[in-house]
Assembly symmetry: C3
Homo-oligomer: 160 residues x 3
Amino acid sequence: MSVEERLRALGLALPAPTRAPPGAKLPFAWVHIVGDRALVSGHGPTNPDGTLASPLGKVGATVTLEQGYAAARRTALAMLASLKLALGDLERVDRWVRAFGMVNAAPGFDREPAVINGFSDLILALWGPERGQHARSAVGMAELPFGIPVEIEAEVLLRG
Amino acid sequence: MSVEERLRALGLALPAPTRAPPGAKLPFAWVHIVGDRALVSGHGPTNPDGTLASPLGKVGATVTLEQGYAAARRTALAMLASLKLALGDLERVDRWVRAFGMVNAAPGFDREPAVINGFSDLILALWGPERGQHARSAVGMAELPFGIPVEIEAEVLLRG
Amino acid sequence: MSVEERLRALGLALPAPTRAPPGAKLPFAWVHIVGDRALVSGHGPTNPDGTLASPLGKVGATVTLEQGYAAARRTALAMLASLKLALGDLERVDRWVRAFGMVNAAPGFDREPAVINGFSDLILALWGPERGQHARSAVGMAELPFGIPVEIEAEVLLRG
C-alpha cells in the first residue's frame, strides 16, 4: 500500500496547501530540498482548505490535551500536503529523520510528548515502524505564531 | 555582484565578530563545518564592534515589532560576520538550508514571523530567491541569553 | 584513551538507558541513524538507573544555576548511554555536529549558556577540542516534559 492509500484507509485526506493568514508575509519555503534532504518548515494545524484550524490558544488552558493531540495530527497532515506539493508524490519520502515538536504551553503544562504523539503516531502508521522512525523533541513554547497550539518542523530523506 | 557587493549596495556592513558579554563562557563554535555543511550556532543582534546590540528585552513589551525586525536583520549580519571569519569568503556559501528563528516573546505576542522576516528578507536580498531560499520556523521563547530579543541558528551548504 | 576510558578517568559512569516515566508513551528513537548521521532526540538528566533525576523544575527558581549545570552534564551522560546502546561503541562517534540546549527557564532567567555549558564542557573533555567541537544554541523554554530542568537534542557524525 502506498502512503496515500494508507491515509485513505485511515479515513484521512490531505488538506489544501497551507495558506498564510491575511496580512502575514512568510518569505520562506514550506519544504526546502537540498540534495537528498527535504527540510520541512514549521507547520501548524490546518483545515481542509489550508487555513489555520481552531482551536487556537495554549494547551493546558483553553486547548485540552486531546485537542492538542488532534492538532499535532492535523499538523502532520499539513506537512504531508506541503511535501506532496514540493515532491509530486509522497512515495519520494524514503525515511523520516527528525521532528521538532513545539507546544504552545500553558504555565505548568508538562505533557508535551503526549501532544506531539498526534504527529508521531500518524507518521509511524503511514510509513511503518522503520521508514517512519524519527528522532524527536517535544517541548513547551512561550508563544507560537498566530496563537497556534502546536508547531512542528522536520527533516526527511528522499529516495535516491 | 558578490554577496559583499550586494551588502554594500544596500548600505550595510558586516559587524566585527560577535564578542561574548563580560564573564560569559561560550565553549562552542559560532560556525561549525562538517563536510559540505556549515552549522551556524544561535546568534543575537550585535553592534558594529561585535558587542550585543540594544534594545534588549521582550518583543511585544519593551521592544517593538519594528525593533524586533531590525534586531533579526542585525542577527543575520552577525551570522554573516561569523561565516566570513570561518570560511574566508561569503561566496563559499552555496545555498541556505534552514533557519530557526527564536523571538524573546512577551506574553501574548504571536507575530514571530514578522520579526524573523528581518533575517529572511536580508538573506533573500543577498543570495537571491533560489540560493537564499530556506526552511524556517519562527517561534516565541520564554527567555533568551542576556535578554537578547532575537536568536537565530541556521545551516548553509558550502560550495563543492 | 578511548572516550569510555576518559569518562572513567573523570570518575563518571554511563547511566542505564533512559526510561520513560510511568504512563508516558514515547514513540520515537532516542538515537536515529541516517547514513553517517546520528540524530539524538531530546534527552533530560537521569539517575544511574535511567529514571529522570531530581531536582525537577525551573532554573532560576527552584533549581539553581549550579544544579542546572549539573543537570546538563547528566543530560550529556544520558545521551551517551543512548548513543552506546544504538552504536555499540562510543568510538563510532567521529565528531559532534550540533547541540540544541533547552533550559526550563524561570521568568527573567537569562543565563542559559552557563547551564548548557555542563553539556559542552563534558563533550569537549571526552572527545577533545576538535572532535568534540559543536554548533550550539542555549535558550529558555516555557515548559519541558515532566518538569525536567534541561533538555538537549544533538547530531553527531559517525565514522565511515
